[in-house]
């Protein structure tokens, strides 16, 4: 089972959405959650504080989720971090783009705590191997 102390970073420009994700994570027992309002802020936080898991929206100003993903994967300190991409779209090219850039998972809005849990578990499973 996943460590309930996993430190999450939730990245979204819409604060309501950050709150939703935070609440869903809380429902699943994860209370160690920090937030960032776009890729740039997220990257700054990632470089200065320890995190175990990134949950990021795709579409954001300044630095999008996919740009953040690429930056994370290119950083030797951060490249190992699991990265769950949130998006409203389920377009083939989006999914492929996220997968190619190295996303650990992909979740489509709106989702329930159960869906999120399932996606997280899938990722933890892969990590555990």
């Amino acid at each position: 089972m996943a460590d309930k102390n996993t430190r999450f970073l939730v990245v979204d420009d819409f604060s309501t959405m950050r709150r939703i994700v935070r609440n869903l994570l809380k429902e699943l027992g994860f209370t160690n959650v920090d937030e960032a309002e776009d890729g740039q802020v997220a990257l700054h936080k990632l470089k200065n504080q320890p995190f175990d898991f990134i949950v990021s929206d795709w579409n954001m100003p300044n630095m999008t989720g996919i740009e953040l993903l690429k930056a994370v994967r290119a950083d030797p300190q951060l490249r190992h971090l699991p990265f769950l991409m949130i998006t409203a779209e389920a377009k083939r090219e989006n999914i492929i783009a996220a997968a190619t850039a190295g996303a650990s998972g992909y979740i489509v809005k709106p989702f329930t705590a159960a869906t999120l849990e399932e996606k997280l578990n899938k990722i933890f499973q892969v990590l555990g191997k």
Partner: protein, 626 residues
């Protein structure tokens, strides 16, 4: 019973944040009309709808998801150059934002939004289909609304899109897990259809044709009572700090009290007491300020609704108007911002409808075809001044006077005695409307008199300046906050009264020699201005106990007069407590003075109203001639 049970807080957050986002989108749409190919703008608008859709999905507001989804797709095509913006399309998009705003209104009342009008969805679908460039949006096409295949997801480019969509949206376990594996198997299709598509399909049949599409978004949307406020954490910290310090000072005072009660009243103890109290004085002042600051919001939140309003109205009237906004960062008390909306909507409409000439008239007068209406806010001292300036035809004093006589608001004799400035004030009279035909836009039964009343309720003032042929400027001057009222405390018959300092222009001594009688009423000439003299005791209906020694030169809206009082106590910042159950004439409320005495705060407007409100005409005359 709310249809969002268990999600109320989330709903509040969503509505607050999304409404701001939508206003932003509205303004960007107005911008977009000028620069239809601006990629950054298209991107921002796309993201706006996208974000709202995402949030609405979590709230299960399917109709909103459907509508935003289509609009978003439209912008995706626009930014990719697959579609060109046409006026018809623009109308459909603007209608869509209006509709979203209506949905916010419903959600604000705890109701699930109804489906968007079928005509609007069809118009968006048509545009998405790449077909009819000019989607007939404003007046929905009578063509059968069934035309658009509703259940089909809006953009279907690849044949397996829907499969992929359902594959990824799958909520049950066997649904695809497209993690890591670069090859996403479209084959692993879950049985259930995509959430969005399903929602759309479910809602479609219920779609009812609403009588009128959301045309006047800003005005018609039900007023959402915002009962939450966003505060900069820095400001909250300040409040916390100050209350902490006040706590410390209180401890100090408690210690000193014990010492004094024990009989230790030495000089240095008393000095410490004095110091502690001075410090408390300072801290409480700071705390009041800091608390007040938490209620301050940038007025831009309000202003950002108007470019769209002006644009829609101008288009409807066939005029070219640009609304220029400055000073949107100016801060004002939250409640005032809310109460200012109606008056400002009215003034912006007035400027566009009455102030600005038709394009032909402008060209004939040698002006630019496009007119500018300037909406600005700035802080001047402890006041906020908001002004609306147009470069239109200006007001004609003579025409105003004629109109007022025609309407029976004043008689010819009064009209002749009015100067230019006083004539402009005529528009504030109840029942005054300068246009012969009441147009659908401005003549809604709400006149300038209501605007003025609303501004006065906020302890504000409204002034007009107009130059015929060059334009009109209406300025509203407001106190920074309603919570704390600066007053001048005066004394009459040995009782203190507080009058709002905002109305006080100056204080003059009353000398018998300077008094004159004009048509039987006492007046004083101050710098060539003849001002009526009213004794406060007289207004209160009391017998004067002594001859008034001082006059307070007061100004409210357009009328100035001198209020005669016995003496002064000084100026003070007070918090008005309303009187429960009783409402004496001319009294706004009560407050406590420094020595614990009750001081009545006067409502000058009310006090000045003639007691026997007999004929409307005489009242009007009074209003003007005062």
């Amino acid at each position: 019973m709310s249809e969002f049970a268990g999600m109320e807080e989330l709903l509040q957050d969503f509505l607050l944040e999304s409404s701001e986002l939508l206003s932003d989108v509205d303004n960007k749409l107005v911008e977009l009309e000028k620069r239809p190919n601006d990629k950054a703008l298209l991107n921002d608008i796309f993201r706006g709808f996208h974000t709202i859709k995402g949030g609405a999905g979590f709230l299960n507001a399917a109709p909103m998801v459907t509508l935003c989804h289509r609009t978003e797709n439209l912008f995706d095509m626009l930014r990719n150059g697959e579609l060109q913006l046409s006026p018809g399309l623009m109308d459909a998009i603007l209608d869509a934002t209006g509709e979203v705003r209506e949905m916010f209104g419903r959600m604000g009342q705890g109701l699930m939004p109804a489906s968007a009008p079928q005509a609007l969805l069809s118009a968006l679908d048509n545009a998405l289909a790449g077909g009819a460039a000019a989607a007939p949006a404003v007046n929905p096409a009578p063509a059968a609304p069934v035309a658009a295949p509703a259940a089909q997801p809006a953009v279907s480019q690849g044949p397996d899109w829907q499969q992929l969509h359902s594959a990824v949206t799958g909520q049950t376990l066997p649904a695809a897990q497209p993690q890591m594996a670069p090859a996403v198997q479209p084959a692993e299709t879950a049985a259930q259809p995509a959430v969005v598509a399903a929602a759309a399909a479910a809602v479609q049949p219920a779609a009812t044709q609403r009588p009128s599409p959301a045309k006047q978004a800003v005005a018609s949307a039900p007023a959402q009572a915002e009962n939450t406020i966003r505060i900069d954490t820095h400001r909250l910290d300040q409040v916390l700090n100050l209350s902490g310090e006040i706590g410390l000072t209180k401890n100090r005072l408690t210690t000193l009290r014990t010492e004094i009660l024990q009989g230790n009243a030495e000089a240095h103890t008393l000095r410490s007491l004095d110091e502690a109290i001075s410090q408390l004085d300072l801290l409480v002042g700071d705390l009041q300020n800091a608390v007040m600051k938490t209620r301050m919001q940038p007025i831009g939140r309000l202003f950002q609704k108007y470019p769209r309003l002006a644009r829609d109205l101008a288009r409807q009237l066939g005029k070219e108007v640009e609304l220029v906004i400055t000073g949107e960062e100016t801060e004002l008390d939250k409640t005032m911002i809310e109460d200012l909306n109606d008056p400002l909507v009215h003034l912006v409409r007035n400027a566009v409808d009455h102030g600005v000439e038709s394009t032909e008239e402008r060209i004939a007068a040698g002006k630019e075809a496009q007119s500018q209406v300037h909406l600005s806010a700035e802080q001047v001292g402890d006041h906020i001044v908001i002004s609306i300036t147009d470069d239109g035809r200006g007001m004609n004093a003579e025409a105003l006077r004629r109109k007022a006589i025609e309407k029976g608001l004043i008689d010819a004799e009064t009209a002749n005695s009015l100067d230019e400035k006083q004539s402009l004030q005529l528009i504030f009279l109840p029942g005054f409307s300068t246009k012969d035909q009441i147009s659908s836009v401005s003549g809604r039964g709400v006149g300038m008199d209501v605007v003025r009343t609303n501004i006065q309720k906020l302890n504000g003032r409204i002034d007009i300046n107009s130059i015929p042929g060059q334009g009109t400027r209406i300025s509203i001057s407001l106190p920074l906050t309603l919570a704390i009222l600066p007053v001048l405390v005066v004394r009459v018959c040995n009782q203190p009264f507080a009058v709002p300092l905002a109305m006080v222009r100056e204080i003059i001594p009353i000398e018998q020699a300077s008094m004159q009688e004009v048509s039987g009423k006492p007046t004083i000439v101050v710098r060539d201005e003849i001002l009526p003299l009213k004794t406060l005791s007289g207004l209160l209906g009391w017998e004067p106990t002594q001859k008034p020694a001082f006059g307070v030169l007061m100004q409210s809206a357009e009328k100035s007069f001198i209020l005669a009082v016995d003496s002064f106590v000084g100026r003070d910042d007070v918090v008005i407590k309303p009187l429960e159950n009783i409402r004496p004439r001319g009294v706004a409320g009560a407050t406590l003075s420094g020595d614990g005495a009750v001081v009545l705060v006067l409502d000058m407007e009310d006090l000045l109203k003639p007691q026997e409100a007999s004929a409307q005409a005489s009242r009007n005359l009074e209003l003007l001639a005062l």
